[in-house]
Subunit: 254 residues, 2 copies
DNA sequence: AAGTGGTCTAGACCACTAT
DNA sequence: TAGTGGTCTAGACCACTTT
C-alpha cells in the first residue's frame, strides 16, 4: 500500500447515511490525510469556513472535529492564525493502568489471598500519609494476588481505623481489588494519588513472588481519599517486572 | 473547611462577564458539587433540559459541559437514561511522560554526551525491530544524558542507515532529545511506540549512571516511525530509579 | 480591513429507555 | 408516551492576528 493509496482509502466526503457522526467522520478524514502526508507537521489546515464549504457541514460540526484532533494532540489551534499539524512530542505520551486491568480481567484465574490483617500502632511514615498521630491504631493488611496460578502482586496497605468512619464498608470495597481495577469502582473513594517506581525486591517479596534475587520490580504506591478529602488508605503493590509492562503509542495513528 | 463550605465556595450561577466560558464554568460548578458530596457516585445528574433552565444556557452549552466531565471520567452518560456520577476506577489512571520533561526542562543544566556512534551489522533483534535484513548496515549510537552534573539517562539506539532516506536529518532531530521531550518535537516522525519496564542494571549501566549494583532502573523502549510507517529508530533509555518517578491523581479533583 | 479561531444561541430531529 | 441523551443547523458576536 502506497501513500497515495492510503490517501484515498477513506472517502473524502461525509456519508450522511452512516452511523458514524459527521464530526467523527470529518475528524477521521482529516487525520487520514495527515497520516498520509497530505498535511505535514507545521502545515496549516484549511480554515473552518473552508471545511464547512468543502464538506457541507455547519461550523459547530467542523469545530467539534477540530477539537477532537486537538484533544488527540494531532493539531494545535491558534486563535486568529489558524489550525496547524503538530509535531510529535514524547511528553504527551501516557501510560494507563488499563494494562493492569488485563491482568485482573479474567476473574476465573485471579485470586486474592489474605496473608495478614491486624491492628497496629501507626509508625511515623504511615501516620504521616494517613494524617493520624504516631501510635494511633491503624489496620495493616498484606495480600498476595495470583493470576494463572502464579503470584503477580504483593500488596501491603495501612487503613484508617476510626469507629466513627465507615471503615468496614471501605475495607470491603478496597479489599476487592478487582473492583477497583476492572470492576465498577468504589463509591466512597473520591480520588487517589498514585505513583510508579522501579525498585529492588527484598527477600520477603522475592519469596512471595517466587523470584530469584536480585530482581527488579514495579512499585505502585497509592493513597485513597474519601469525599471529605481525608486519607482512607495508604499502601503499595510490588509487581514482578517479568509479568508487567506498560505500552503506548504517541503521534498520529490511522 | 467543611463540606457545606465547599459546596458554596463557588457561585452556583454563570458569570456572563467572566473570561471563563460558560461551558467551563458550568462544568466546574457541577464538579464542585460532586466533589462536595451533593451528588454521590451512582447518582443521576439533573437532565440537560433542567440544567439549561437552571443556569440559563442553551442545550449545546450544557452538552459541552457534560462532555467535559465525561472526558474527565467524572460522569458517564447513557442515552435515554441520564447522566450519572462515576465511581473511582484505577484503570483510568494515566502516567504521562510530561514528568520526564521536567528533568529536561532546564536546558542550562542538561547535556547530552555522545559516547559512541558507528555503523554496525544489524543483529537479529535490531533487524526485526527496524524491518531490515540481518547483517544490513545500521547506525548504533550510545549517549549519556546528564542533568545537574549527575548522569540521568543512558541511551542506546539503532538507526536506519539508507542513503535513499533522510537519515541525517532524522538523526539530528532524534539526537536532540530535549526537542523530543520538551521542545518542538520532530517533523519527520509520525508516531512512536513506547514501553516502560522495570529492570536490573548491568555493570556498564551502573558505571555510567554512577550507581552501586544491584540497582533497579526504569527501561523506556522506543520505536519511531516515519510518515511511510517505516521504522526509523529503535532504542531504549535506562534511567536511575532514584531520579525518576511517575505520579498521577485519579478521580474527582476540585 | 480581512481572515482566523472561540463561544453561544434556539431551536430541530433522532435514538434510546422507561413506564 | 414522555423523558433522556446525541447530533446538527445556520447563523450571531467576539477576540485575536495579519496585511
Amino acid at each position: 500500500m502506497t501513500a497515495s493509496d492510503r490517501r484515498n482509502s477513506r472517502p473524502n466526503t461525509i456519508d450522511r447515511t452512516s452511523f458514524e457522526p459527521a464530526y467523527s467522520q470529518l475528524a477521521n478524514i482529516l487525520k487520514a490525510q495527515i497520516a498520509a502526508g497530505a498535511f505535514r507537521p507545521g502545515d496549516q489546515l484549511p480554515s473552518e469556513g473552508q471545511l464547512c464549504r468543502t464538506y457541507g457541514v455547519s461550523p459547530m460540526t467542523v469545530r467539534r472535529s477540530i477539537n477532537l484532533l486537538a484533544d488527540q494532540d494531532v493539531v494545535a489551534t491558534a486563535q486568529g492564525r489558524g489550525t496547524f499539524v503538530k509535531r510529535l512530542q514524547l511528553g504527551t505520551a501516557a501510560f494507563d493502568l488499563g494494562e493492569l486491568q488485563n491482568l485482573f480481567s479474567d476473574e476465573r484465574t485471579t485470586s486474592v489471598r489474605l496473608l495478614d490483617a491486624r491492628i497496629v500502632a501507626a509508625h511515623e511514615r504511615a501516620a504521616n500519609k494517613l494524617a493520624v498521630s504516631v501510635g494511633d491504631n491503624v489496620i495493616y493488611i498484606r495480600r498476595l494476588i495470583t493470576t494463572d496460578e502464579r503470584p503477580a502482586f504483593y500488596h501491603r496497605e495501612y487503613l484508617i481505623y476510626d469507629p466513627r468512619r465507615p471503615i468496614v464498608e471501605s475495607e470491603m470495597e478496597i479489599t476487592s481489588l478487582s473492583g477497583l481495577f476492572s470492576g465498577s469502582g468504589s463509591a466512597i473513594v473520591k480520588r487517589a494519588d498514585l505513583a510508579i517506581n522501579a525498585t529492588l525486591m527484598n527477600e520477603e517479596e522475592a519469596n512471595l513472588l517466587q523470584t530469584q534475587l536480585p530482581a527488579a520490580a514495579f512499585l505502585l504506591e497509592h493513597i485513597f481519599y474519601d469525599f471529605e478529602d481525608r486519607p482512607l488508605s495508604w499502601g503499595w503493590f510490588i509487581a514482578n517486572s517479568e509479568r508487567l509492562r506498560f505500552t503506548t503509542t504517541v503521534g498520529i495513528q490511522d
